[in-house]
């Protein structure tokens, strides 16, 4: 009984890794969630596809050699392996968090999750409406980091705060007056670093809900882009930990 192959949909039960590197990372981190692996008849051994197929065989993951899956899931080509895997609703743990309010861009979210994995901030709350973490474009932009993070969606910042009343919230906004290097010196844990939408930032109300923080820069740009602001904030809030030894 072959399941149909469909273009990714937000309400589907499965998503896809487009490419060999991503698929390797999925096998390493969560092979139990893989339902099947598509291999293009045009695949050569670039990116170690034979090794990948061998691993799938060992793990008894079904391998399907078919061009059709690629036409549907990766019409622009340039991809010779795709794993189909079960989506799981994430649950974030107590501790330090990142909170993204209404992020809208798939590539940006992917870049952010890669950086977050790099700095060990792997519990990530997303406030709806927002881009779908399981969109294959997000998964691809994480370059594998998607399988190292817990991402949980919330309907509002209030719902998030009720679950984590002890977290100290730091909101990154251009309207803030306290600069990042100063705030970091007296930071409290567990912390939540809160960022707004790419185009509109955080609503003014966040300056009351949270400690508002600014990353100062010249007036020749409107703002840093979202992944950059988030990356700089993550670096500052975690650098002690990474440079302790």
């Amino acid at each position: 009984m072959a399941m149909k192959i469909q273009r990714y949909k937000h309400d589907a039960e499965v998503s896809y890794t487009l490419g060999a590197t991503l698929t390797f990372e999925l096998i390493k981190c969560a092979s139990g969630r893989i339902t099947r692996v598509f291999v293009s008849p045009e695949a050569r051994d670039e990116g170690g596809i034979h090794e990948l197929i061998e691993k799938c065989r060992q793990l008894r993951i079904p391998i399907i050699e078919s061009e059709k899956a690629f036409n549907i899931l990766s019409p622009k080509g340039n991809c010779f392996v795709i794993a189909e895997f079960r989506k799981e609703a994430g649950t974030i743990r107590q501790g330090n968090h990142l909170v993204f309010v209404n992020p809208s861009d798939a590539g940006n979210l992917g870049t952010i999750l890669r950086t977050a994995t790099g700095f060990g901030l792997t519990d990530i709350a997303i406030i709806r409406p927002a881009v779908d973490f399981y969109d294959p474009r997000v998964i691809r932009a994480t370059m594998g980091a998607a399988f190292h993070v817990n991402v949980e969606y919330f309907d509002s910042i209030e719902t998030y705060r009720e679950r984590f009343p002890d977290n100290r919230l730091y909101a990154f906004m251009l309207q803030a007056s306290r600069p990042l290097p100063e705030v970091v010196q007296s930071k409290e844990e567990p912390f939540s670093l809160v960022f707004g939408n790419e185009a509109t930032g955080l609503p003014d109300i966040y300056a009351e809900l949270c400690s508002a923080v600014i990353i100062k820069h010249s007036r020749d740009i409107d703002s840093l882009n979202l992944p950059m602001a988030a990356g700089i904030a993550m670096y500052e809030f975690t650098k002690e930990q990474w440079n302790r030894e």
Copy 2:
């Protein structure tokens, strides 16, 4: 005598701003370099196109209403104004620099230049072979910052060092042992922050030519992406200046 409209080429004398926001920034920073402005017959007043046309008239910049330019220069559409402008070979000044060795991605270079403008590091050396700064995809990804930076190409790091023998070079590499927060505490000016290619990083020889620096992160990612590493480095090396007041 109408000049032909051609797809952008590396050896052309002109480049293009795809979009109204970019074109506004070009008018503000370097209107004298604009040779003509194309306006799509489909343009409505979104993005203040009437205001832009009015400015061009005041500045006696030729305005051409034509669909053809858009089919050639922006075939994917979603753009209603394009300015054609003269390219200028940049010359960087004495002072702090960024140095990019063989950067290859247009979007990355654009993001980097935007961040560099934000942190006031506007003199940028690029070591060939490298992506073309005047590629309209780079210009677009800077979101206007392209017109605030001086970008100069060099054939080798040696040529660059001969011109700027007093600059202290800091090379960002995964093989380094000294972490960024430590290096910054004893930084010397004028400094040059040196970054390698997206995929391959800096050759080992840079550890001898420069002070090698690492931005420490978890082993769950191979590396930070290039714009992120560069942005974090720029933030650390300039934050005193931005937070002085």
